[in-house]
């Protein structure tokens, strides 16, 4: 996830926040883009945002190798 992904949510759905750390590091490396990075702490928060925006939640199930 690069710096340009300003909206890419950095959560691990609240169940294992340690998995979010690498993404935060990458966001920090992106400098100014970090300020506009939207972060959610859980899927519930993502759903709340989606409901407010009238959009959908995209859940990326990943495996941290």
């Amino acid at each position: 996830m690069g710096g340009a992904t300003s909206r890419y949510v950095l959560a691990a759905a609240g169940f294992c926040m340690s998995h979010a750390i690498p993404y935060r590091r990458k966001a920090r490396q992106a400098g100014n883009n970090m300020e506009s990075t939207r972060q959610v702490a859980s899927l519930d928060e993502a759903k709340s945002q989606a409901a407010g925006d009238g959009t959908l939640v995209l859940i990326d199930f990943f495996n941290q190798l």
Binding site: S6, A20, K47, S48, L56
Partner: protein, 150 residues
């Protein structure tokens, strides 16, 4: 996905405009079990009420990510009975990503929506014509061939 697909400017623009993305480690239950995820990456498009509308499994290039997600948005509108919005989203798959793997299914689903909207089976015949012209060897063209006499 993190190295190639998500940093792509087109993917960023799509994400910003259309979805709230969230990453979930497959080892952190209960969500993988709840969504019956068996492999990664699996991308699930769901609404705020937890209803899944579309999913993809496996790595996707930027081009091959956006097209199925637009299709998923079209599927969502279809599920909700929002016919005009569904057809608009599905048309974008064909117009913007005509060579993507997701493209041939879009006219088919758009035809289904048109049929449900108009109650005229002729809509599926028109779909078949469009599919034969653009995607003659697609499985979706084959599936629509049953409507030739419609």
């Amino acid at each position: 996905m993190d190295a190639v697909t998500y940093p792509d400017e087109r993917v960023v623009a799509f994400m910003n405009e259309n979805v709230v993305p969230v990453k979930v480690n497959i080892s952190s239950e209960p969500l993988p079990e709840q969504y019956n995820v068996q492999w990664t990456p699996t991308l699930v498009l769901a609404d705020a009420e937890d209803k899944e509308h579309h999913r993809t499994v496996g790595w996707l290039s930027p081009e091959d990510l956006i097209a199925p997600l637009f299709h998923g948005i079209g599927q969502t509108h279809t599920d909700r009975g929002e016919c005009s919005s569904a057809r608009t989203a599905l048309q974008r798959v064909v117009s913007d990503y005509p060579d993507s793997d997701a493209a041939p299914e879009a006219p088919y689903l758009s035809g289904v929506v048109h049929y449900k909207q108009s109650d005229h089976i002729h809509a599926m015949n028109e779909t078949l014509t469009q599919l034969r012209e653009k995607y003659p060897i697609s499985e979706w063209t084959q599936r629509a061939s049953v409507y030739e006499a419609a």
